[in-house]
């Protein structure tokens, strides 16, 4: 996302603290490590360094180097080891530092982890969580900026989670770790510092339930991960112009809550899908296709996509900033659907 600014989220509860998304993830990991001796973390620089994003800081101190393991730079190997451990009684959380390195683990994820339950006729299972990142505009160039969630979403047997707020991240990550299936959990690097309210106590968030981040009547903006903030900012802009936008966050791409998405589309009749993956053959295509199919007779205008440009992410800021959806671009597409170009 291009604007990591904190956005006041609609949700407000009692007994909430304001913590960052990085802290929320850290708490989820710590709580699950405490709760279940089968849980362990493995990844590059996850122990003393706490990852480059400082997401796992402090965990090795509490749980020791046997449960928080610094690994060699072997993404395929650690995912394979995580899988074998998952198949034999453990609940590994594998840290793949940049989502761009999913390229290296697709065999372990797609050919092995995703299929073992099915191929064994339900007799083996792989309760494996892979945490990784997505998102551009960090000036990290083409190999450290990709949002590759569409790939894993295309693989039956994997579940795919894209939280947008600290609250969601914590609750969904705990669900992921307890799930008996391989789950790929994407965190936007630009979101780690974003703060939001998180309750003190224990909670989990179920998979397959989209969350309406803002209610509205005129247009539906379906947005994933940090694009939720872009959508909310766009909704603010639109509100100033008298347009009421509903922002829907699918939260999990697999399983997908088609019902909530389609219900919102039917209500507003106009939909923009915002996602930070490349546009073509991206997650936004599936979301758009599902809505265009199921809400067909309710739509007043074509479903539009605002996703990343179909270019490798360039380094130069003047170029990179153009490649991602922005509040302005989302607001302007939304208005065009309402004939207010």
């Amino acid at each position: 996302m291009s604007t990591p600014a904190e956005v006041a989220l609609p949700k407000e509860h009692e007994g909430m603290r304001e913590i960052s998304l990085a802290q929320a993830v850290n708490e989820a990991l710590a709580e699950e490590l405490r709760r279940d001796p089968a849980v362990f973390l493995i990844g590059e620089d996850v122990a003393e360094a706490g990852t480059p994003f400082k997401v796992t800081s402090g965990l090795v101190q509490e749980f020791g180097p046997e449960r928080v393991l610094d690994s060699p730079i072997s993404e395929a190997g650690i995912t394979g080891i995580g899988l074998g451990a998952a198949m034999t009684g453990m609940r590994p959380v594998v840290d793949i530092m940049f989502g761009d390195f999913l390229t290296l683990v697709m065999d372990q994820l797609a050919n092995q982890a995703a299929k073992v339950h099915y191929m064994s006729g339900g007799r083996l299972k792989a309760p494996l969580t892979v945490r990784t990142t997505l998102g551009a505009t960090r000036r990290s160039a083409a190999q450290h900026s990709q949002s590759l969630h569409a790939w894993v979403s295309h693989v039956p047997g994997l579940k795919v989670v894209l939280p947008s707020t600290p609250y969601d991240a914590k609750g969904l990550l705990k669900t992921a770790i307890r799930d008996d299936n391989p789950v790929v959990f994407f965190e936007d690097k630009m979101m780690f510092a974003v703060k939001g309210p998180v309750p003190d106590g224990e909670y989990t968030i179920p998979f397959g339930a989209a969350d309406v981040k803002r209610e509205g009547e005129d247009v539906t903006i379906v947005a994933t991960s940090s694009m939720v903030y872009v959508a909310l900012e766009a909704a603010e802009q639109l509100a100033e112009e008298g347009v009421s936008a509903e922002v829907v966050d699918p939260q999990t791409l697999v399983p997908l809550d088609r019902e909530t998405l389609v219900a919102s589309a039917k209500k507003t009749g106009r939909v923009v899908v915002v996602d930070e993956g490349h546009t073509s053959y991206g997650a936004s295509a599936e979301l758009a296709a599902v809505i265009a199919e199921d809400a067909f007779y309710w739509l007043e205008a074509p479903v539009r996509r605002a996703a990343a440009m179909d270019v490798p992410v360039p380094f130069s800021p003047v170029l990179e900033d153009q490649t991602v959806p922005t509040p302005d671009s989302v607001a302007s597409i939304s208005k065009s659907l309402l004939g207010k170009a």
Partner: protein, 330 residues
């Protein structure tokens, strides 16, 4: 560096006869698979283990039931050697509901979790991560289980093997890598695809290794026992290179093989280095059993295999509605 010369447990009569029976069972099973294919009764293809029986049996006899194995596309022998039943295996190969994987896996994905077989694998080298992870888990859970990871010499081409061997060595994981060198990656001789030595690939990580005659089940058993006990004692991984040979084609459909290997080579292995002949001769020479008893064993596993195949042929397919089941657990 070789695995230390801890004296291998002696192979007594009971063990020798069990190994003989298991090897015969594998051979009879595979020969029946070939017939099923040729009579168009089996869907798809299968990669037969005939000729390599001593490796699977020698290694698996050194393991406990609760130890793990991971296997390959050429996996029937490993599966049987680890304790699977002939009948349920045939059912799997024919896509029947009674199969180990309810017909969903087939030959290349047969798994038998009750005996610790975490599955055959159709990706060359694809189970090396799983085996190493199972060893990690055994250690993390404080159990003394061991994982044996079977793969062909072709898997030395897959990078992930080196990644996991490094971690197995670093973290002294209880895993035994079993490289079955049958000289061929499909239709290409391994000397055309493999630079340097085979065992050297493990030596690079400081992993103890042995090169051995994979046709002599007692040699395999002895080396495997050393490696397994080493792992169980918490001393980490080992790497065994077993020289062996597959008698049939790469898969059941590979019948014209002259372009990549000679009839003479095949005949020589069968005549001089057949694992069943070698063990049988030793049993008889040692007086552990006579020819008649061994023939009896052979006849009995052949009958078991024939019955198993018949059963499987008659068994029902899974209900079509199962197609959508088991995508996700829980």
């Amino acid at each position: 560096m070789a695995t230390e010369a801890v004296p291998a447990p002696a192979v007594g009569a009971e063990l020798a006869l069990r190994m003989y029976e298991q090897m015969q069972r594998i051979r009879a099973f595979e020969e029946r698979v070939d017939q099923l294919y040729r009579s168009a009764k089996m869907p798809g293809l299968a990669h037969l283990y005939v000729g390599q029986e001593a490796v699977a049996v020698g290694v698996c006899e050194a393991l406990r039931r609760d130890d793990f194995i991971t296997s390959t596309h050429r996996g029937h022998g490993h599966c049987l050697a680890k304790g699977a039943a002939v009948e349920r295996m045939f059912c799997e190969l024919l896509g029947k509901e009674e199969g180990y994987c309810r017909g969903k896996g087939g030959s290349m994905h047969i798994a038998d979790h009750e005996h610790g077989n975490l599955g055959a694998n159709a990706i060359v080298g694809g189970s090396t991560g799983i085996a190493t992870g199972a060893a990690f888990s055994a250690k993390a859970r404080g159990s003394d289980q061991v994982a044996a990871c079977f793969f062909g010499e072709g898997a030395l081409g897959q990078g992930v093997l080196y990644e996991v061997m490094n971690m197995a060595a670093l973290w002294t994981l209880p895993v035994v890598y079993v490289c079955e060198n049958n000289s061929y990656n499909e239709y290409t001789h391994y000397s055309e695809t493999t630079a340097g030595g085979l065992a050297e690939r493990a030596a690079a990580f400081g992993i103890p290794h042995e090169e051995l005659d994979g046709q002599d089940v007692r040699a395999v058993y002895a080396a495997a026992s050393r490696a397994v006990e080493r792992a169980r004692r918490g001393e980490g991984p080992s790497f065994l290179v077993c020289e062996t040979y597959r008698y049939y084609g790469h898969h059941v459909g590979d019948v014209d093989r002259a372009y990549y290997r000679s009839k003479e080579e095949e005949e020589q292995w069968k005549a001089e280095r057949d694992p069943l002949h070698i063990l049988r001769a030793w049993i008889v020479a040692e007086g552990l059993a006579d020819e008649a008893a061994l023939e009896q064993t052979k006849a009995s596993v052949e009958a078991e295999v024939a019955a198993g195949a018949e059963h499987a042929l008659a068994a029902p397919f899974p209900d079509p509605s199962e197609v959508g089941e088991h995508v996700y657990a829980g």
